[in-house]
């Protein structure tokens, strides 16, 4: 009885999470190319409100951190702080080649590295910069990941 109740409640929670991903956008040292594409994604042409995606100003309101660029030494603490300010459950999408690997800035003296070296990333969107369709696809991948049961851990 108890497990049925918990199961239903969890299903409702997952449904709500999948249908209402509120995003916050943070640039940790990108060249602004990806940021322009993210802003283009939010325009009426792509109308992400169809999927319930909404850009929030406050990290306290957000579920998804959309992060661009390599992490510079200066931005590292800020990125960590923004991530820590978000309430659980929280997810991270790294947008653009720099967020994936450091991209064009790889090996620079002022770079800590890619985003995954600072905070755990759930979905990567490659491209330099990725198109708005690719960013929406990235969010859709994240939502599909939420829906699917956790993959089985390999023994041994």
């Amino acid at each position: 009885m108890d497990s049925v109740w918990t199961k239903t409640l969890n299903q409702v929670k997952t449904w709500a999470r999948i249908n209402s991903p509120w995003a916050i956008h943070f640039n940790s040292g990108s060249c602004n190319g990806c940021d322009i594409e993210i802003l283009a994604t939010l325009t009426p042409r792509y109308d992400v409100e169809r999927f319930g995606i909404k850009l929030q100003g406050s990290p306290r309101h957000a579920d998804v951190l959309i992060c661009t660029g390599p992490v510079t030494r200066q931005a590292k603490n800020r990125l960590l702080r923004i991530y820590e300010q978000m309430p659980d459950p929280k997810f991270v999408i790294a947008v653009g080649s720099c967020g994936l690997s450091g991209g064009a800035f790889q090996g620079c003296y002022n770079i800590t590295g890619n985003i995954n070296e600072v905070i755990p990333v759930d979905v990567y969107v490659p491209g330099c910069p990725p198109r708005p369709e690719a960013i929406i696809y990235g969010v859709a991948q994240l939502l599909a990941k939420l829906q699917a049961p956790a993959p089985a851990v390999k023994e041994g």
């Binding site: 709500a16 009426p44 109308d47 169809r50 319930g52 306290r60 309101h61 579920d63 300010q85 459950p89």
Partner: protein
């Protein structure tokens, strides 16, 4: 009043569940209409419900340096006040659940309590954006409240009563007061938009300037409750203005038609105008809104005084 019926009133029909569902539907209609005006498709019908459930299921962070009791209590008080106000208005075109002489004043103040709670919530946190948001919320409260009150006073004077259901009955049996008191109707509609902090008057939560205003530090449950409170306020505001100025609400069909038409008007105004600065809002209300409302009141008093 027997207890089961009171509980039914409070939890299911005019208050509680029904009103929350109604609020979510109206929020969706508002967002959909604005989206359509902007040439977008807009959110799906369950969007506000999904938002609220998701927020309720999220972690609630109580930031350092706040009074945690106040932080938790304020959203609850806000929703409670909005739900209580609903008991006095002709919700869904039916008789109000509780009706007494002077309930117009009580409903007005209960609706203001919601804004006051938002302001206090912002002032309670140490965040600079919340503080600016709180200041703006309270400043805006002082600017639109008087003209809105005066605009609702017009029908009350004509009906000779402070009772919402009596004014409603008067509005049903006479010519629509939007025709006889056009200035009052205009001030009431725009005052409603100010009260709900809808776009031309959304300086208190201007996301491009001050993150999210007074509610910046709220997450999870608190934010969800403030959202619900705002939605309920939208429904009550629409009900009151359409009951007073648009010929009363005598049955559910009139209720739906009139409030949706009013929502269409406010959504249109929302997408037409850009955000006003807070000083422009205050200036507009006191230089123009209050004067127009007073003029309307003067006309009514003269009209009534000569016994026409």
């Amino acid at each position: 009043m027997n207890t089961p019926l009171s509980l039914l009133y409070l939890l299911i029909f005019p208050g509680g569940l029904f009103l929350i569902a109604m609020g979510l539907v109206y929020e969706w209609a508002d967002r959909k209409l604005v989206a359509q005006f902007q040439n977008r498709i807009g959110p799906r019908w369950f969007q506000p419900l999904a938002d609220v459930i998701k927020l309720l299921a999220k972690e609630e962070i109580i930031p350092a340096g706040v009074s945690s009791g106040l932080f938790t209590a304020l959203p609850i008080v806000a929703v409670a006040a909005a739900l209580t106000a609903a008991l006095n208005v002709p919700m869904f075109g039916l008789r109000p659940a509780y009706s007494f002489s002077g309930d117009l004043i009580v409903a007005m103040y209960l609706l203001s309590l919601m804004t006051l709670c938002t302001g206090l919530a912002g002032a309670n946190t140490n965040d600079r954006f919340s503080l600016i948001g709180a200041t703006r919320t309270l400043t805006q409260l002082f600017s639109y409240e008087a003209p809105f009150m005066l605009a609702l006073l017009g029908p009350a004077i004509m009906a000779g009563s402070w009772n919402i259901s009596e004014i409603n009955a008067y509005a049903e049996s006479h010519l629509w007061m939007v025709v006889t008191q056009p200035i009052g109707a205009l001030v009431a509609i725009i005052g409603l938009m100010g009260k709900l902090e809808l776009p031309p008057f959304d300086a208190p939560e201007a996301e491009t300037e001050i993150v999210s205003g007074a509610l910046t530090e709220y997450s999870g449950r608190g934010l969800a409750l403030f959202h619900i409170g705002k939605d309920i306020e939208l429904v009550i505001g629409l009900t009151m203005v359409s009951a007073f100025y648009f010929g009363g609400l005598s049955n559910p069909i009139y209720f739906i038609v009139k409030t949706v038409v009013l929502l269409l008007i406010t959504a249109g105004l929302q997408s037409l105008f850009a955000r006003l600065r807070i000083d422009q809002t205050v200036g507009m209300w006191w230089r123009l809104g209050a004067l127009l409302a007073l003029l309307q009141l003067l006309v009514l008093i003269v009209f009534k005084g000569f016994g026409l």
